[in-house]
Amino acid sequence: MGTAKQRALPRSQIWSWVAMGGPLALLLVLFLVYPVGQLLLLSIHNDSGFTLAQYRQLFASSVYVDVLLITLKISLVTTLVCVVTGYPIAYLISVVGKERKATLLFWVLLSFWTSFLVRAFAWIVLLGRNGVINKLLLSLGIISSPASLLYNFGSVLVGMVNALLPLAVLTMLSVMENIDRNLPRAAATLGARSGMAFWKIYFPLSLPGVAAAGIMVFVTAIGFFIVPALLGGRRETMITQLIIDQIQQTMNWGFAGAISVLLLFVVLIVFAAYDRLLGLSTMTGVATAPKSKPSRLSEPIAKVGDVLLTLLGTISDAIISLLPSRRRGRNPDQPGFGLQAFAWTMLLIISLPTILMIPLSFGKGGLNWPPQGFTLHWYETVLASPVWTQALLRSLMVGVGTGLLAMLIGTPAAFLLVRSNIPGKGAWLAFILSPIVVPRMIIAVGLFYVFANIGLVGSAFGLILGHTVVAVPYVVMTMMAVLRNYDTRLDHAASSLGARPFATLRHVTFPILGAGMMSSFLFAFATSFDELTIALFATGGLNATLPKQFWDEVTLQVSPVIAAVSTCLFIFMGLLIFTAERLRRRAAAR
């Protein structure tokens, strides 16, 4: 059967490929490749034909290069901090028992799903002149007058780390969960002390996760503008902010295109380097054992690495043996107190600002700490304002639309990639995942240009299309993972038991895939619900989505109304995660 297929592809098969993969390919060509291509063209083209004027201007002064360097610096430091502090958290989550894992994961997920805007805004309030930190330092007598904690490198870094730490933790966790817990134990019986067992066994196995987290965080960070715009000063301007300025202030498409090319170039270099070193396949974070690592890393490098890890192991063990011995009577599987304290402190730091927003939103005293009195005034203001309610409705509508559309065209594509023998699967996958790699801002500006030409600016439909482009890779990835784990023998069993194809689909396939489809719908919904970059240009005024409205308000003034909106969003997300988790558990218990 297989050989017959290889010799001549039946026409019907090609048609089924087109039917399953066509819509997604069309979407990406029309709303990713074409707009981005347009933008890049604009950068080398003006009324009189080919020109490099934009690039000359870009490198004429050191201004833009400096911004690029600052962007790289912020992104690198953010990545480093996220990976280094996220590692122990992910490790802890992967080793603790079921109950505590659920608790820890809830806080990571809550932070992950809370809008970047809400979290950045919370830090503005927290670090402000009358914020909690200043008040605390004053009352402790450490400082005598409020320090200015905002609009510097430190505040940007705090905001960036807060924004991206959950992503780093979740990425590393996906790899750590697949590491066989018997391996460190086996190392212990073979004579390795805990430090050695960690550095020589656990750590190398967790490296693909570290690498995947590193690149995910870096690529997201390099395209960030919310945090530097809200928490940074002039010296923390990042490159995407320049693109926004070019579009919003001067409508200079050509120059925006040139900056985009620069940004894209940097991102591609990073990916190429990553691929050379580790292979892009590790990015999906599935491989427990690095498939081709030993052959890729040349012998001497591997040797040096081994010596280094042995050294780290020896040092750790020496330090552990110096510590007062608490080992007696301790369960060898229990994580240490230091690790737990660290992880909880980090989780507290990333969750606390948003939580402190809650009492402030009910206070009469504005955003000054401590909150005074109790009022529902700010909530009433929000509800009475058509701008906010319109924005909420629009966001919900666009979110649901995006979720449905992304599922509708993403799921068949996932089936195609997992189940069929379509040629060039790797290339297809790379193409489908490209919306994650290309900085969001470039897609947004390109889409704005194309939409402006065909009159889709400001329309919900245009927004749904744009959001689907950025959400669909997650849907495809989730569904592919689900389908890979799905045992096709179940389908065969069903049909051998007399179920016709449709009945099999309805009674066996979908009920089992249901959880995966639900979670990819939610993921797409949440992506859209929190999306600002595309909405930044494509909407405005009464057309604004919630994030866009939030952004317009927060860049205008920092008011308690925003605290009320933040609180609503935060609690909405908390409930959503809680219910989703409950549903998932009930499904698992069945």
Partner: protein
Amino acid sequence: MVSSSLRILELSKRYGDFVALAPTSLDVAKGEFLTLLGPSGSGKTTLLSLIAGLAHPDEGQILVDDADVTHSPAYDRDIGVVFQNYALFPHMTVEDNIAFPLKMRKVSDAEARRRTMEALETVRLPHVAKRFPRELSGGQQQRIALARCIVYRPAIILMDEPLGALDKKLRDQMQLEIKRIHRELRATIIYVTHDQEEAMTMSDRICLMNAGAIEQLGTPEDLYFRPRSMFVADFLGESNLLSATVRDVDAEGLDIVLADQAAPSRAVGNGSSFAAGEPIKIMVRPQNLHVVTAAADSGGLTGRLVDVMISGSLTRLYIAPETSGMPQLVAAYPTRSGSPPHEIGQLVSLGWNPADAVAIRDGGGH
């Protein structure tokens, strides 16, 4: 080569409310080969993990050569473990896996290489040294796990179903290999298996576990011929269990009477104490149950032949006793043409040597 004795005192382990191991005591002599046998979930792996220091007991003590190691970490115990699912390090070659314990013990590189190759020869896989674990078959991985354990000659070796994934032939080979390693290293070995035949052939003693507790501990003969409970009789090999009542107990055995039978008969004890009047079970192994064509009214126990099955060297006869309520019985004979009777439906009379009838306390099983 050193070997150590192991003593376990009232060791117990709970997971939440679930008792994975009830307080258990066990003595293993230097150089002994002890097998843990028992149904799935009976606590075998749990007991091994506690001994190895991979899990922490709730109560009790573990002594190696009379030194208390209950609280010492796994890496200090010098107890080797062959894991149920191999636990080979996926990022290291076979060679590096096997050399790992030597490196941890700071053995020189040259010496480590020599001993690694030696261990690979022992498990007959010298050609896979440079491969990664995922490039090996399940059985080969298992043998590498064995090699990694014996390479540093631990004083006590724990093996959790080390031959589970092997086919019959390789399994037989590896059993011999393990026995040879045991003789040569004179290590103390605690071995887990599901396979009762394997347990019988390899062990000095068998420890039969059930529901987190030791059901019976003794030599293979002990367990087979003098089971303490119906669970043991049932678990090890085939058995016929007949209800009876104790009449009298004397030095040599018991006077009993079978249920629904008038004639008295004799049985031997199994080490438990019995009281007159107590209801018991009598166990007769199939090979000890004699079946002869019955005369019309021979008296005694009779039954009808319901099935005859020839399985290789043994022929099994299945008999439905005439006495109502008595379960179906099985007798086994070496396969030969002619005798014994094997016409289905035929009336047969059943008997056994009193020395082959073992008394077991009723309800002894769980």
